[in-house]
Symmetry: C2
Subunit: 412 residues, 2 copies
């Protein structure tokens, strides 16, 4: 059987590993951390896993976490034209269940499970030299982490990379004692769009230790009113600023955070990065080729919650592509075609959707949201398509087609 090496023990790498193991492949995952180190790491992201990606995990028998608390059944969006003023309100159902699970719990458990199912785990910090040395021992090496300058192996795709600097300053936190969202009859993702300032997201979350809680992601446009977390050093300070942000921008949500607390010092983050698309074939100094997957080739801002979902979809597509390739050599051409297929069918829409949300909504999108505040099928489509952003296309790009959808749904 073919022998695949995977660098990185995250969503993309481990999901691919499990998919190949299941088909009898020999798979080695190189992780720079033990399960305990992965578990005890600082919070790195809080993404919600939407229906299809969540389904992929379940099919692989990888959903080990019980408890209804982490599921959302819908979304609740406030569009605010000015701080403290809600111009628009959209509530809709999310039809396919997903979940927001603490990734530290997931990856640590998965790494142990990977070994249990017969995979090989090498705990070692692989750098470019080490990568050179291990490539000849595998039929294919897939790089899923941007650590140790691995991103430099993959050329930036100038045509597909829209941005040259971070579009948001990010703050995320895991919060206990947050009051339920009373505005929806079901557990929901809460979105607030503060025009000109950025976005707030909160959602039911499954904490690695405490189980069902909530997490918050704040996306601040640099230099604007939400961008207040510079110099924050403690969880308490971060929470206080978040409370103040909400009092200023969404007083109707602020009271949910009264009496709440960030669960511990490792469960909040601030950061920023430049969304970048890269070429999928990585070239080592020797000329050997490795394939990129996940964030290393498609790094999107978390505003649309696509990162984890994209990694899962890439892993799913890659598993199929590897299996279908049988015993043929994994050439750079194959790598390119495999990624191009994913880009054409999914990647471009994931990226375009994310970039659309990073910009002020154009009039026809605002018009859609306005209509969605009254017509539930439009609202359901808006929220449910976060898990399938390709479904927004081609119509969302065209004011006429969007208007036709609105008319059709309103008449129904």
């Amino acid at each position: 059987m073919r022998n695949i090496g995977i660098i990185g023990a995250g969503q993309a790498g481990l999901q691919l590993g499990f998919g190949l193991l299941e088909k009898g492949y020999t798979v080695t995952v190189y992780s720079d951390r033990t399960p305990e180190q992965l578990f005890n790491a600082r919070l790195a992201a809080t993404t919600y896993l939407f229906g299809r990606a969540y389904q992929y995990e379940q099919e692989l028998g990888l959903d080990f976490w019980k408890g209804p608390g982490e599921y959302a059944r819908g979304g609740d969006l406030d569009v605010c034209a000015a701080p403290g003023q809600r111009a628009l309100r959209v509530q809709g159902r999310i039809l396919h269940p997903g979940k927001a699970l603490d990734l530290r719990a997931k990856y640590s458990r998965w790494l142990a499970e990977f070994e249990r199912r017969g995979g090989t785990v090498v705990v070692r910090d692989v750098d470019v030299d080490a990568l050179e040395a291990l490539v000849p021992g595998h039929d294919l090496v897939v790089v899923t982490t941007g650590r140790n300058s691995f991103t430099r192996l993959f050329e930036r795709d100038a045509e597909r990379s829209v941005h040259t600097q971070p579009q948001r300053h990010l703050t995320a936190m895991i919060v206990s004692g947050m009051k339920p969202l009373h505005e929806t009859p079901y557990p929901a993702l809460k979105f607030i769009l503060a025009a000109g300032h950025g976005e707030y997201f909160s959602m039911p979350y499954f904490d690695r230790i405490r189980g069902p809680l909530n997490c918050i992601l704040l996306e601040a446009i640099p230099g604007q009113g939400l961008d207040r977390f510079g110099g924050v050093n403690t969880a308490r300070e971060a929470l206080e600023r978040m409370q103040q942000v909400l009092r200023d921008f969404s007083p109707w949500v602020a009271e949910r955070l009264e009496g709440a607390a960030i669960v511990d010092e490792s469960s909040w983050l601030t950061g920023a990065f430049t969304p970048t698309v890269r070429k999928p074939v990585g070239r080592l100094p020797s000329g050997r080729a490795v394939m990129g997957m996940g964030d290393v080739v498609m790094l999107n801002d978390p505003i649309a919650g696509q990162g984890l979902n994209s990694a899962s979809k890439q892993a799913h597509a890659m598993t199929r592509a590897i299996l279908e390739h049988g015993d043929q050599p994994f050439t750079p051409d194959w790598m390119e075609q495999t990624f191009e297929h994913f880009w054409r069918t999914e990647g471009q829409f994931i990226t375009a959707f994310t970039n659309m949300l990073l910009q002020p909504p154009p009039p026809h999108v605002l018009r859609y949201l306005g209509a969605a505040s009254a017509v539930s099928t439009l609202a359901d489509t808006f929220f449910d398509n976060f898990g399938e952003p390709q479904r927004f296309w081609p119509w969302i790009a065209s004011p006429t087609e969007t208007e036709a959808r609105i008319q059709q749904a309103s008449a129904a």
Copy 2:
């Protein structure tokens, strides 16, 4: 509704708390640690929760951990007359499923869940002075922890306490990469009785981070051949000594540990304590009374795996007793009667069974085990009764009655 205070966030305290919350009681749990601190604590015990106690948890909706790995379906006992020589082998089924879950994962998650269900959690290190101050605010205060000299509040019961010093030196560890027990057709608890030296137990275990693994408990008679863990300071050293012990005493089991590792430095322990039964009414310096429950009143050696099961059964009995007591005052008399009822129906057998295993087996018990190696109903009874030790009585105390059981089962 009545207002109950519980000191200690372990099996006894939290299970009682959930049972009372469910009936609408106002319950406060005082924990000296946050969920994160409970989770990250050093390993303190590795007990298997047998059928009935496990059932109590499930009834309260408290089994949040998925995965078949932690269940045992039977037991496999070697009786060794001399090191390396197996005199007897008993294999039997455990009819009621139970599990060995990492208690750090359990208590941390439960404490968060307790708050979620409407209980009050006070994270505070309560000492005797603090206890004095909080007793008047509750209708009843139950003390479930022996920390901060709380054991001194509860008079040692000289009649029921058989021992005045530790009977075993204990070593426990959580191990990854341990090979499956090939000797049974189902996941099993493995027991080795090394006559004159002590006992070895290994079992499927659910690790707080990695999920299904194995744990080992070694019970060394002080000064004898298994008592080799004095001065051990690291996980690696502890594992090496365990491997050597097995090579010397049970070479047929030793190979299971080749290539294994203790999961991390916080997941092994050595220790010793004196089994003690105490009076259930604790007297504060002011004369106020508190009620003891769990290890603080019945501290047994872990040889029979009773500690956690006993705590669960006590919590179950206490919940019922409190509910049945309605609005009447919780007097010292009531406390005494409540504990006496438990002692009469369960506690005395839990303690007697544990103490029986701490002694060399008398001839009629060895005879029973010898017969059980051939007659499966006798073997099943032996293993299944670990969860219900009262079922060993009165017959196990009488050579004649034990012989009658053997004859009856052998004839069937």
